[in-house]
């Protein structure tokens, strides 16, 4: 299981570790490739994290079930791809409205059961944990624990720019993810609804005075955050084979990035994601991929201990 997990950096790490053991000097070739792999990985991590940046960072809803929705997105992309041969990213765009609706419904339940009663901390966390667990078990019951993967025109191609390898299965998700982040950032800063979302956690009363219903704004924001999981899920299954429980590995990563970048800041999310991507890529290259999950946690603990506001914290 663990062997498959980090196949994204595997090919490069096997080669480089062998080189390392033979006592070769650290070459620019190797270093550059590790940095590049980290940046591509980081781009993808930004897509995985952006939903949590909105729900946890802006709305203060600790949605630890987010990775489970991403895995759900992966499986939907997988089903559509396997049955109709549609590109997984196109499939995930088709599924966006469904995820948006799911997010709106979950927020409504969350609001009525916890936020309204003022019990959002303890029970809200337990609620999302329950959802995480239910989604995972339901996927196991429906699809089993086999790894699933998708096929697209670009999954097995690679570009070579000078000495740098750019596998398209990493490059395509990374570019799409950057586009998604840019679109979200424009939405949040340039539209009325977007600005209202940024404002809702800070001053609900002021928002009401501007004739915007805070509950509606929060519902829209949370629905958007879940909708991003559809796309992120498609990216994930393009990058690596997916089985229901791998979502857990992303919980640490997602929150590490979110905290590292500074809560509620999308540029911060991108920087945090790139940093984690590079650190993980280096860990995988020089110590072996089985150590990578520990990296995000170490980073998370260090950030919490020394700079809880994050790099670009508000």
């Amino acid at each position: 299981m663990t062997l498959m997990k980090f196949c994204l950096t595997e090919s490069c790490s096997v080669r480089t570790r062998a080189g390392f053991q033979r006592g070769e000097r650290l070459s620019y070739d190797l270093l550059l490739n590790a940095v590049m792999a980290g940046l591509l990985l980081g781009g993808f991590y930004a897509a995985v994290t952006v939903g949590v940046s909105v729900s946890f960072g802006i709305l203060d809803i600790v949605n630890i079930a987010h990775p489970a929705f991403i895995i759900l997105g992966s499986y939907i992309a997988y089903i559509v791809n396997a049955r109709f041969g549609i590109d997984p990213i196109v499939a995930s765009i088709i599924a966006l409205p469904a995820f948006y609706g799911l997010g709106a419904a979950i927020y409504q339940i969350y609001y009525l059961s916890f936020e309204k009663r003022g019990q959002d901390s303890l029970r809200g966390l337990a609620f999302f944990f329950g959802i995480l667990f239910i989604t995972e078990v339901a996927l196991v019951l429906a699809f089993g624990v086999d790894y699933r993967y998708v096929q697209a025109a670009y999954t097995e191609q690679s570009w070579h720019v000078g000495i740098v390898d750019l596998p398209l299965r990493m490059l395509v998700p990374c570019v799409m993810s950057l586009l998604m982040l840019a679109a979200l950032q424009l939405f949040l800063t340039r539209t009325f609804t977007g600005r209202a979302i940024m404002a809702v956690a800070q001053d609900q009363l002021a928002l009401q005075l501007m004739a915007a219903d805070p509950i509606r704004i929060k519902r829209i924001a949370f629905a958007i955050s879940i909708a991003t999981a559809s796309l992120a899920g498609a990216f994930l299954i393009i990058i690596q084979p997916v089985e229901p429980s791998i979502g857990r590995d992303y919980i640490g990563r997602v929150f590490a990035i979110c905290v590292l970048g500074g809560l509620g800041s999308l540029p911060g999310t991108l920087i945090g994601a790139m940093l984690l991507g590079i650190v993980e890529s280096f860990t995988a290259t020089f110590y072996g991929p089985s150590w990578a999950p520990a990296v995000s946690f170490g980073l998370l603990l260090l950030t919490l201990a020394f700079r809880p506001a994050g790099l670009l914290g508000r």
């Binding site: 299981m1 663990t2 946890f56 600790v62 630890i64 339940i109 059961s113 916890f114 009663r117 019990q119 901390s121 303890l122 029970r123 966390l125 337990a126 609620f127 944990f129 329950g130 959802i131 667990f133 239910i134 995972e136 078990v137 339901a138 196991v140 019951l141 429980s245 857990r248 590995d249 919980i251 640490g252 929150f255 590490a256 905290v259 089985s290 150590w291 999950p293 520990a294 995000s296 946690f297 170490g298 998370l300 603990l301 919490l304 201990a305 809880p308």
Partner: protein, 317 residues
């Protein structure tokens, strides 16, 4: 009667109940009773331990599996290097898990509660990574811990011995929870749960209390994990770090009620027994789905658990 004498009476009552359970199980005379009973008792310890932090202070720990596995893997370590009797291993497991709890708490408890919860969730992933990469305790392959057939000194079949140990741990956990609940410490915990800022402002040493709760809770979870390798016989990272420990230890207090020691006990007995039945009759995946659904259902519909429902029915009369 003063408080100490009352606690003494309570512990005595618990011990009597435990003895009745043990000899009751012997009277049934079927080994399955011990295997199933051990699991239910283990859940009682885990749920009670979780509740000391989660229910009393309001800080959610998602890392039950991590603390449990720390106990289990310290046993594996000593089994390989220096075999010790289980009661000693239980103490070691408690010490290791308690220390890790203290360290984690120190790093994250000064911040908002959500950060602590996230850190505990990540702790499970990291400890699992460490264990997977640590070949001495079996690595990803897992480790065999062969259970002796019986305890020679007591001429007791080994599974009965394990059952008795878990029974004793359940008594210790429940007694600890009740003593904490009724002490000054417990009132301090409650002030943190209700309004941490106000508590801090009125001079309650909140960080210190939270650290005590995390250490205590972690130590009890480690205790529950220590005999586990002998029970299961073959310990692999994915079974020691299974997410179901975390879900169960949260679901049980939530379903029973989080404010007193009775809640986790009731929740663990009900849910633990239900799971034994569904695992045997339907399948273990379905049983996990039921636990998840019950957890979500209860936090939405009955936020104070069965105890809360009970009290509501009573106060209406």
């Amino acid at each position: 009667m003063n408080a100490t004498a009352r606690s003494g009476t309570f512990i005595l009552a618990c011990a009597i109940v435990a003895a009745v359970v043990f000899f009751g199980a012997r009277a049934v005379g079927n080994d399955y009773v011990y295997f199933a009973g051990y699991t239910v008792l283990q859940f009682i310890v885990l749920a009670t331990a979780w509740n000391i932090l989660g229910g009393y202070t309001g800080y959610v720990n998602f890392g039950t599996a991590a603390f449990f596995a720390l106990g289990a893997y310290s046993t594996v370590f000593f089994h390989k290097s220096f075999p010790l009797p289980i009661p000693v291993l239980v103490v070691i497991g408690a010490a290791v898990s308690g220390l890790v709890g203290l360290g984690m708490g120190y790093l994250t408890l000064r911040l908002r509660g959500a950060f602590f919860s996230i850190a505990t969730l990540a702790l499970a992933v990291v400890l699992q990574t460490l264990v997977v990469n640590w070949n001495y305790v079996g690595g990803a392959r897992g480790a065999y811990v062969i259970r002796p057939a019986e305890v020679a000194e007591l001429s007791l079949p080994y599974i009965q011995y394990l059952f008795a140990i878990m029974l004793a741990l359940a008594v210790i956990a429940i007694a600890t929870a009740r003593i904490v609940e009724r002490s000054k410490l417990g009132y301090g915990f409650a002030t943190i749960r209700d309004d941490e800022l106000a508590a801090e402002a009125s001079g309650v040493p909140t960080l210190k209390l939270k650290l005590i709760a995390t250490t205590l809770s972690g130590a009890l979870m480690g205790m529950a994990g220590a005999p586990f390798p002998y029970y299961i016989g073959y310990l692999q990272p994915s079974s020691a770090f299974a997410l179901e420990y975390a879900v169960n230890s949260i679901a049980m207090p939530m379903i029973g009620g989080t404010t007193s020691w009775v809640g986790p006990l009731v929740g663990a007995l009900l849910l633990g027994t239900l799971q034994q039945i569904t695992t045997v009759t339907i399948s273990s995946a379905v049983n996990l789905l039921i636990v998840g659904a019950l957890l979500v259902g209860f936090v939405i519909v009955a936020p104070n658990g069965l105890i809360g429902l009970w009290q509501r029915v009573f106060s209406k009369r």
